[in-house]
């Protein structure tokens, strides 16, 4: 079949997102600038990719079925982003989306370039720890991000990404999300998502590659035995164990993240800090961490601020602030 431009597919599908009750062919043509003659071929192409269409008595076309695939043109349909995911690279199977994203960075691809994969055979966690992936069940992606302004610390990106992922999980899957400082998202005490941020280039602008893995539609049995104890999926935690639309979840994360990146670029941190605090819920907890200089520190969290750090009450009753960037091996007791 003749290849159809992704932007055409996106524009076509967008109409069905806007008009779920269906549209007459001439109206689709009118609204998209395509000709009525082109439309059947587009429909057929999409049917080949797993979309289903229905016809009603009045000749309207309706979108009746969507494939459970992270197809770039489908991610972009209904994506409310101006900067992120304007270029999307799709891999059915890949070693690691991070490696692909770094190659794209070297090629000079723009801020927001997205790499998605249905399956990662060598998904990385921090320190090259493995991130387990089940084909077509999770959402794994990497994003090229310019640090804007250039003196932004990558740590604030971790906060923005974690907050975006937690918000998307809560709103799309309807399960309670918690950020485990600094870079994991948990549901009911088990890990569902991990974030890996890597900065390799100190050129101008400084660029980072942000990798995110979310366990979405795995069932408990899909997770290997040792992992099951500490990790879960959104579906497994959902009442009725209904599967979740992965493209929708991904779009939601991207939309949230774009919003926070705009705020960071404008020097506005308060809303992000509030949202992050709601999801990380550190206040009032006792924390233990390693600090380069102070050694092991234990205290009760009185306040958590992106810019000012953690304010702790220490065992001797004194209060002290620690920058978030100086905390290692953080545990809450």
């Amino acid at each position: 079949m003749e290849k159809i431009q992704e932007s055409t597919l996106t524009a076509f599908l967008n109409e069905f997102r806007l008009f779920p009750d269906g549209l007459r062919r001439d109206i689709i043509a009118d609204r998209t600038g395509l000709t009525s003659k082109e439309l059947p071929a587009i429909r057929e192409y999409l049917e080949g990719d797993g979309f289903g269409f229905a016809d009603d008595e009045e000749g309207r076309w309706m979108l009746a079925g969507k494939p459970d695939r992270l197809l770039p043109y489908w991610i972009q349909a209904g994506l409310r982003c101006d900067r992120l995911a304007q270029q999307v690279f799709y891999k059915e199977e890949v070693g690691s989306t991070q490696d692909v994203a770094f190659e794209l960075m070297v090629e000079g691809r723009p801020h927001g370039t997205l790499v998605v994969a249905e399956h990662q055979t060598g998904g990385r966690g921090r320190g090259d720890r493995e991130w387990h992936s089940t084909p077509f069940k999770g959402v794994q992606f990497s994003l090229l991000l310019d640090l804007n302004p250039p003196d932004t610390f990558a740590s604030v990106l971790t906060i923005a990404i974690a907050t975006s992922v937690a918000r998307a999980i809560q709103d799309v899957a309807g399960v309670p999300a918690r950020i485990k400082f600094p870079n994991d998202v948990l549901v009911r005490g088990k890990k569902v998502a991990g974030i890996l941020l890597e900065v390799k280039d100190y050129g101008v602008p400084r660029r980072a590659v942000a990798g995110v893995g979310i366990n979405v539609n795995q069932l408990a049995v899909d997770l290997p035995e040792p992992v099951r104890e500490i990790a879960t999926s959104l579906r497994a935690e959902r009442r009725g164990q209904e599967p979740i639309g992965r493209p929708r979840l991904l779009r939601y994360v991207l939309r949230e993240l774009e919003k926070w990146l705009e705020r960071i670029a404008a020097g506005e941190f308060q809303d992000l800090e509030n949202a992050w605090n709601r999801f990380s819920a550190m206040e009032g907890k006792t924390v233990v961490f390693r600090h380069g200089g102070e050694g092991t520190v234990e205290g009760k969290v009185l306040d958590a601020s992106i810019q000012k750090g953690l304010l702790l009450r220490l065992a001797d009753g004194t209060e002290k602030r620690f920058r978030l960037e100086h905390l290692s091996d953080v545990r809450f007791t």
Binding site: D151, F153, Y202, A266, L327
Partner: protein, 152 residues
């Protein structure tokens, strides 16, 4: 600047369909931004505008053993971010650089770790390392000297 000025700015924005306007005068900065849903937002701040990212640490008082400011032959590599300093990629491996070693602009000299982000820091200068100013595992602040490099 008073309310009338602000009205004028909003008028200009409406006339020209602008989403955001920044006015700077007399050491003050005014940012006016239109939101589709929230109307007009005004942010006033003193110039220079606040730096994004967790605020850099207050300016470091120069280390007493630092090079004299007129010592042009020594370049100081400073921390471009807040984090924990690591001299090697992993605890088992050798340090990236040591005193007496030579570096080029692209030489990775250390890792600064912040919230599990590993940042490779490059020398961005060439010469011989004459001093390593920090210890492995030490917390460092923005702008803190890490290495002193004597130019060839």
């Amino acid at each position: 600047m008073d309310v009338r000025d602000l009205k004028k700015i909003v008028q200009i924005m409406n006339d020209n369909d602008l989403a955001e306007v920044v006015v700077e005068e007399e050491g003050r900065k005014l940012k006016v931004r239109k939101h589709e849903t929230r109307g007009v937002e005004v942010v006033a701040s003193a110039v220079p505008a606040p730096v994004a990212g967790p605020a850099p640490a207050p300016p470091q008082t120069p280390a007493t053993d630092g090079p004299a400011p007129d010592d042009a032959s020594v370049h100081v590599i400073t921390a471009p971010m807040v984090g924990t300093y690591y001299s090697s990629p992993s605890p088992e491996s050798a340090a990236y650089v040591e005193t007496g070693g030579t570096v080029g602009p692209e030489t990775v000299v250390c890792i600064l770790e912040a919230m599990k982000v590993m940042n490779e820091i490059k020398a961005e200068c060439a010469g011989t390392v004459v001093e390593v100013c920090v210890e492995n595992g030490q917390a460092v602040d923005y702008g803190q000297p890490l290495f002193k490099v004597k130019k060839p």
